[in-house]
Symmetry: C2
Subunit: 439 residues, 2 copies
């Protein structure tokens, strides 16, 4: 819908058609855990705008329950299914914004109606219905990435007994292990039955009972949530010949053009340019999805816009912890062949004497020459928007000395006089300096 | 104490003497309003470290109640008064870190013991004693800058009826008027009797009653707090010939050297380099005071360090509002002769559906060519650390397009998918573009 709205702004006379497979458009998918937890009352609250708004106020022909199934880039036509009928729609310019799709492991039993992923609003509404009806006493969450942990928190908030099974020996694979360990501690502190290095092998029905087999143990549960990852929903475009990166996301240039003439792509199905890696990367997150949509819509409609790239900034709330990351983790930097090191520091979120002040752990990842490659932060207070300083520094190409020189805000209710990120930057800068000369 | 500690780190054998006029060192002056409000229980909680820590653990000869009164830069000696005696102390290197001093207007009656400034911990303790004893029913705060408003909030939190008198026709002169107007509204919403364009002309005693004359009206009050500004406490060094900037703060280079050989200066008594103004500026705030202290101490002890400069980042809590600024206001930019304009935007602090989401107003100040000059933010939620993104952007020399391209963090509990600062940057970028071409 960002793309469609941008196209409309560029050209008020353009015919803009949107095909949407589900019954909802422009909803805040990241809000689903909070809707399930009951913090957000109605599913409709998650909509940026109701469908009628796009049709009536923006003149966008939004077709719901219309799933694209084929693309003919030569004839410039899309095939989609609506009400069981196949429809052919010709276009002058096409924007592929099919999003991400949850990965489902190829295991028996995952088609049970009480096995959910958490991406569509319809699934969320069904899940909320079960919770509201008091029909969920115990749940299994498969996957301890950020979505799995958000779901664990939401279910725990509803009084559900939660098991989380993760194949890896740690939570949050998009964080370095020492930072992830702080998150693991928090999840356990809230009584979640966290099983690491534990694989789901089967889901089955025994009488009316749903059983999940985890690491050989049979767990009776009321529902299973699968959150093991997201892949780009790029198959229709890729089948038509659009170039992709390893993993399957669509390759685009800075104007969101795919390799197919007249075909643009945006959102969670593309791999935009990563400013730290200096190559395309698949990092499916909301802000870049919105921005690439806006660029694709603007350019497709004849306007001018470019997308500079991402640095991979993300935050997540896990129970009482805020967890942020931007750029590369040490593991990611090493995997990319960079000579990287990490410096950790623990500061405070506010002046130490101010009520609510809490420890805040910062990890900076930097190249041997000092160039900042990434940051991670975890803490019980004031983490989220602090990571944005590091994101800004990454876009600026700062080294750790630049970071240590920042003139950041201070007031006892909000920050200590030495910001935790400055403490980490000073420590990182000292590591690459010879000892100060003494006269 | 930052300077002394840094000097000690460079040279473990150096003799380090600190002269401090009051009875406390290394206290968090900015915490005084929260101590008065009762959020911080004891005055000692505001100390970074107790005096004994510096003496015993850092080997620093900290002399309290020792007020420097004279400097002989040729003989390399300082004169100070202690216990009524004048003492001469010779030095190899001297660091002037005398801080800021509250401005007192030349009005009758301001020597009354119930007229306070809020800078020394001793004054704060006396004030807290009066509040704790229930002896303050009504108070006058003179000055509606950030310290005056923090004090008004603290007194209101103790149930005191507060009058604030400000000579200017608006609050917070370090914000542009439309942003300051939001703060004014908040102060009035909390029942503070705010009198703008109103000057104090006299304080007097009538019997046991303290009277303050404001704009011709006689107010009976229990105490008066004067918060009309801070000047650099640079007179001892300036009298000895150290160069100063207009206004009186000491001129220093990026190693904190004054114009006098062997004499360094740091903290609120200096005018460090301002990266946006590209000249020295007097902006007395805690973080730069600490950092310049560290540089002065390092260099004075024979080590190597530089201070790159400030951008003038500050935040303040005013009742339920967070108020942040960095760089230049539009008024400051115009006063500096820059061709500047301002772009305002109102966003949300969190996803609109997430509990606690509140409007957040952003003003960006930018040059005609697009260069970012400053930012201001006001809101009821999540303001404080957001201003740091703009501070980082200023150090990086970003223009509004760079700012609009930032990959900032998003999660419903912490941020909307379009950060308010990005909304403002996009609006600012559009103002300098021709309309998008349509093919």
């Amino acid at each position: 819908m960002s793309a469609a709205s941008a196209a409309r702004r560029v050209d008020p006379d353009l015919e803009v058609v949107v095909l949407e497979a589900t019954g909802y458009a422009a909803y805040g998918m990241c809000g689903i855990p909070y809707y399930l937890a009951g913090l957000v009352e109605r599913a409709e609250d998650l909509l940026a705008y109701p469908p009628a708004y796009f049709r009536e106020r923006r003149g966008i022909d939004l077709r719901l329950h219309a799933e694209a199934t084929g693309l003919d880039p030569v004839a410039r036509a899309v095939h989609y299914v609506s009400d069981g009928r196949s429809v052919r729609l010709s276009y002058d310019r096409l924007i592929v914004a099919a999003g991400g799709a949850p990965t489902f492991p190829p295991l028996p039993g995952l088609r049970d109606p009480h096995v959910f992923s958490v991406r569509s609003l319809e699934d969320a509404m069904a899940l909320r219905g079960l919770l509201d009806a008091g029909r969920v006493g115990r749940a299994l969450v498969v996957g301890a990435g950020y979505i799995g942990l958000e779901m664990a928190e939401a279910l725990a908030a509803r009084g559900v007994s939660v098991v989380v099974a993760e194949l890896l020996p740690r939570v949050m694979p998009n964080l370095d292990e020492p930072i992830a360990a702080l998150v693991e501690e928090e999840v356990r502190r809230y009584g979640v039955d966290l099983r690491l290095g534990a694989g789901l092998t089967e889901v089955r029905r025994r009488g009316g009972t749903l059983e999940a087999v985890v690491d050989g143990e049979v767990l009776s549960v009321d529902l299973v949530i699968v959150a093991v990852g997201v892949r780009a929903a790029a198959s229709v475009a890729a089948s038509a010949g659009a170039a992709t990166v390893p993993g399957g996301a669509l390759l685009v240039d800075d104007r969101m053009r795919t390799s197919l003439p007249g075909v643009y792509a945006a959102g969670d199905c593309v791999a935009p340019y990563h400013l730290v890696l200096r190559r395309p990367a698949f990092v499916p997150l909301g802000p870049a999805a919105n921005k690439t949509g806006r660029v694709a819509g603007t350019v497709a409609a004849g306007g001018d816009a470019t997308f500079r790239g991402i640095v991979g900034t993300a935050v997540v709330k896990v129970f009482d912890l805020g967890v942020g990351r931007t750029g590369l983790t040490l593991a990611e930097a090493e995997a990319a062949g960079l000579a990287a090191t990490a410096t950790d520091a623990v500061g405070k979120s506010r002046a130490k004497y101010y009520p609510g002040s809490a420890p805040l752990t910062v990890r900076l990842v930097h190249e041997e020459g000092g160039r900042l490659l990434g940051a991670q932060m975890v803490g019980g207070d004031g983490v989220a928007k602090r990571i944005d300083v590091a994101a800004t520094a990454l876009q600026a190409g700062f080294d750790v000395d630049d970071l240590a020189a920042l003139d950041l805000s201070y007031a006892p209710p909000y920050a200590p006089v030495y910001e935790p990120i400055l403490l980490a930057a000073q420590a990182a800068a000292r590591r690459r300096e010879p000892a100060a000369p003494v006269t």
